[in-house]
Symmetry: C2
């Protein structure tokens, strides 16, 4: 066996163990008895400790040093690129810092949950200060002289820079603010009313997942408080939730998670358990969930078909197909990112991106964070935050130390905009197909051009190769302005 073969065998075993950790996480959110929480945290910690030891195993460094990269094919070179990057990054963070961060964020998460329940940012601020301090330390170690925030961002979106994102987002923000203002001056669409049976919602969810190409023989659909997808390859599971008053919550959570899951299911089987065997970045992942959910799932054509499905499942909806389409795409004032619509969602994200960069750079002190949040919110959304749980305390991310994560949501939307443009060129009669409930060409195009590649190309590369043009925010803006201009008769 060559050094490369040894390295890959070791990586595959590590990858298999990482999948096991994923199954454990799924179990925790769906089936674990509630009395098992404390014991489970020790089980998870034991497995994470094994994974950490493997990721920093000195043999990886020896194998990497012994490999002649020039002798490898494209796939081998991509594997080497991922492994080198991960190993280098893991080696830069001192073990003590990693352990301190794990302990601190576990504590910070508990404090955040209490502070949110009490609407009391001051109770969270001290521990968040400590988290920011350690994340700056970690970022500096990872950056090795480069930009600290970029080094953190690289965990979620390899190769991206804050400058790049800032340019994109800077172009998005004023046009999104203008679009939402114009929309909110128009009459609100009539909402869906009535109550919707739980089991019938789950049956519809399963049908929708399969319609969007999810292979149920290699996955399953369960309920969870916060929907997620988990796993790669032949065991990719999705979760959704039901609310008797709001079937759209179940429907669009399901389609969103199906986008994530379809990506993981579609990756070339030869990449299983290797760094190429999972979605290449959070941004590209989100591009799949978002194009499934929004550009496809909330299109007039698809909602026309969905309207028929819902009538068959639930009887008269009190809305004709056009009113149903308007209801699905309703834009309203709201505080909460995760409940937001296509137009306002990115404004929520951009706010967090700007604030977290300022926290990491030191331009913004944690003590001033709530005021900065509220000021920016009022500027972009035109009304005031009423309480911390509707504002600065609404998201879990910062308590968990996830700095650099937020912008990948909007990058995913930007990429989805690009892919939608290219898809519509590749499949000219897409609307006619979707109106008949046929998503085969759309999901097939995404599978062929994006999903199957896994980690073979860099995130930007895979989008650019699929689209045939360099990714930018322009297609997303054009799509949103056209769609909502038409819907709200702007």
């Amino acid at each position: 066996m060559s050094a490369f073969d040894d390295l890959m065998a070791f990586q595959r075993e590590t990858g298999a163990l990482a999948q096991v950790a994923g199954r454990l996480g799924w179990d925790q959110e769906t089936t674990m008895p509630h009395g098992a929480a404390e014991q489970r945290s020790e089980e998870t910690a034991a497995l994470e400790s094994v994974l950490h030891a493997r990721r920093t195993d000195p043999r990886v460094g020896e194998w990497l040093a012994a490999i002649d990269a020039g002798a490898l094919d494209e796939v081998g070179q991509a594997q080497l690129r991922h492994i080198t990057r991960s190993f280098t990054r893991a080696g830069r963070v001192p073990g003590k810092l990693a352990a301190d961060l794990a302990r601190l964020t576990s504590r910070a998460h508990r404090i955040w949950a209490e502070a949110r329940a009490d609407d009391n940012f001051a109770a969270f601020a001290p521990v968040l200060r400590d988290v920011v301090a350690l994340k700056r330390e970690e970022g500096a170690a990872l950056a090795a002289g480069g930009d600290v925030y970029d080094a953190l961002l690289d965990d979620y979106e390899p190769g991206a820079t804050a400058q790049q994102l800032s340019d994109m987002f800077g172009a998005l923000r004023p046009r999104l603010v203008a679009l939402r203002q114009a929309i909110l001056e128009r009459p609100a669409p009539k909402p869906l009313s009535g109550t919707y049976d739980d089991a019938a919602q789950m049956a519809l969810a399963q049908k929708l997942a399969e319609t969007f190409g999810y292979d149920m023989s290699r996955g399953r659909l369960d309920k969870a408080v916060h929907p997620f997808s988990s796993g790669s390859g032949d065991d990719v599971r999705i979760t959704t939730r039901t609310n008797p008053l709001d079937p759209f919550n179940c429907i669009y959570s399901t389609i969103h998670e199906t986008g994530h899951a379809a990506y993981e299911q579609a990756i070339a089987p030869a990449y299983r358990f290797t760094p190429l065997g999972e979605g290449v970045s959070m941004g590209v992942h989100e591009s799949q969930s978002r194009i499934y959910e929004n550009q496809l799932g909330r299109s007039r054509a698809f909602t026309g078909w969905l309207h028929g499905q819902m009538r068959a499942q639930f009887g008269d909806l009190g809305l004709d197909p056009e009113a149903f389409y308007a209801s699905v795409n309703s834009v309203q004032n709201n505080y909460i990112r995760t409940e937001s619509d296509e137009v306002q969602y990115n404004l929520h994200v951009l706010l967090r991106f700007d604030l977290e960069r300022a926290l990491i750079s030191g331009d913004l002190a944690v003590d001033d964070l709530e005021a900065a949040w509220n000021e920016r919110f009022a500027a972009d959304f035109g009304f005031a935050v009423d309480k911390a749980s509707d504002g600065v305390l609404q998201d879990v991310h910062w308590s968990a130390g996830l700095f650099g994560y937020f912008p990948t949501y909007s990058l995913g939307n930007v990429y989805a905009g690009c892919l939608n443009k290219a898809l519509r060129q590749a499949v000219p009669d897409l609307d006619a197909q979707m109106a008949a409930g046929d998503l085969g060409a759309a999901t097939g195009w995404l599978r062929e051009n994006v999903q199957r590649h896994g980690g073979l190309y860099t995130p930007r590369e895979v989008i650019e190769r699929a689209c045939g043009f360099a990714p930018s925010e322009a297609p997303l803006l054009e799509y949103l302005e056209a769609k909502f201009g038409d819907l709200y008769a702007l």
Copy 2:
């Protein structure tokens, strides 16, 4: 930290990883998508490989050598005894032999399943020959000069010897053969008829599990093709199955698995993730499942209460409480061990025990196994085996290399007989309590005297301490002869 503390910290992490492997097994049998089977086998193998490396880690040997056993308390000495035994055993089996066995039994299992479907022992014989050869090799390595079969038995029942078991079983066999003959000359009890709703069976199963002291906040009940229990401590899960024509299958599978699970749930929390933190042997484990299922669950007193529960759940049963009790305890000719009753079950096991000892000693050739099985079966049961799937091919164990496992089933019954005798002395009004559906005193006595100790004492010790007398087959025989003598008016 002392060497002992280091060793225990390492063991706890290993124990936590072993629990993760258990969760993975539970998932595989209950929730895993069927298309994930191949990928899962790689995930399981990766985790097993980590566990194997830890169990044979040279540091364990160094810690063991550095520990002053005399300075440890009773618990510490018990930990040391378990760890030393496991480490010594693991070190005696060459890595290549362990790997060959894993590969071979995986293949043998597939061949066995096909041969059973085809009722063709000749198709299974060649690979079974190879399995026996490797198990003899493994047994010889483990025995280090001692008895080969005892060395294999020790995996499932530490400290037991074939001679000991043979003495017990030799006393059981003639009286069980005589008892079954006498019973089968009497009229058969009227069987339960009708069909029983699946969801109502599961609701009853949950109620029964809780009645027998299963803590549902630290466990869950699901369905599986072959019922099992899994896990230790605060996450112990049970499974059952339903058959619309035979609710007793669901009821007694559930109570049986509840016995296993209650044991694991009851072990002292301080032992979690250590060798003391799980049931001490297969025999003691089976003693708990069997006393829950049989001596308690199939008693006249308890079935009287159960009769009322079933009437409430399913309406008129067509049997009065006494006929219901007779139906629950019906003894009939059958081929299959797992479908057998209290009287005949041990005869099935004793047959396998004698044959597998002869296979391992070389006194019986695999080519002669089917004939030997059929001859013994006819001698003990008085009728002929009709086909291999009802005879020598019915059990999975030998294909999986589990030689030494079978006798623990009957040892468990023997121990259950002893515990039942002691329990009845300790709780004189047990029948009155059970007739009211109150199992609290019975399960509390077992928890206090057996279950909470986990691996603190040796298997025989824990039974002897609970009973106050040395375990023997006599109480089981007395119990069976009295119960069935009365039931069948012998």
